[in-house]
Amino acid sequence: MSAPESRPAPEPRSPLAGHLKPGRHGAAGSRPLVLREVPATIVELAARRGRAAELAAAVRGALALDLPPPGRGAAAAGATALWIQPDTWLVVAPRGTEGALAAHLKGVAGAAGSVVDQSHGKTLLHLAGADARAALGKGCRIDLDPAAFGPGRAAVTQMAQVGCVLYQHDDVPSFSLIVPSSYAIPFFDWLCHSAAEFGYEVP
């Protein structure tokens, strides 16, 4: 038996590795969409039965993050929380040390919450540009019009047969899209196809 290793884990491979083709694609146009993958740490955080308030307080204390109500996301300095299920959130942060955020949250939540690392199970994409709504509207059945959706709104929905967590950041508009990793390629392909009419760029 050998001793546990202490070196940091290697860089995880993206399910889209080799699939993202940087450059300008689709129709020529003056305002291409920008589509990219964002390496991220994604942790699912659920309150134990009857302990949502306790959990929220702990998270607020430790991360200065307000766990948002249904249909919303909340961003703090280091992380964004997205409501996905009753008393359940995805906490999304820039890619860091393997397992670190989950471990931290476990400590913060204590017996008030259940924590599950989903960093490898979910793929985060980012889509921005004036025609982003129209591109998403080719698969997304929820109303993304500013009158109905907007910065700070989050939704768990489905596009092109793939379950997707959607979060709007700003009025550009730019969106985060979180999909199960095993579906990342077909989802990405669909998104490219939908964006082609407007032209898009993969940085």
């Binding site: 249904p70 249909g71 299920q85 059945r141 929820i142 939704a155 768990v156 489905q158 379950g163």
Partner: protein
Amino acid sequence: MHLITCPWCGPRDEAEFAYRGDATVARPAADAGIDAFYDYVYTRANPRGWHTEWWHHAAGCHQFVKVVRHTLTHAIAATGKPTDTLPVPAE
């Protein structure tokens, strides 16, 4: 395409839901016997009219939503959480 108001997510298309049947039957106690379980699993009122039923928000928040829906007109009178008691309109 039904429009079902999920108590958590708000109005969403039928496309996001999976229908899961009669919500008026309740699982009997463990010792209730075969006949009670037979009724629970198999027999249904199957009304032509208002029907209280489960729709699983499978492509959304993964919750079972209780829905009062008319089986002839497909109108929806109310939706709620599993533990809610929903009023059923008169015909």
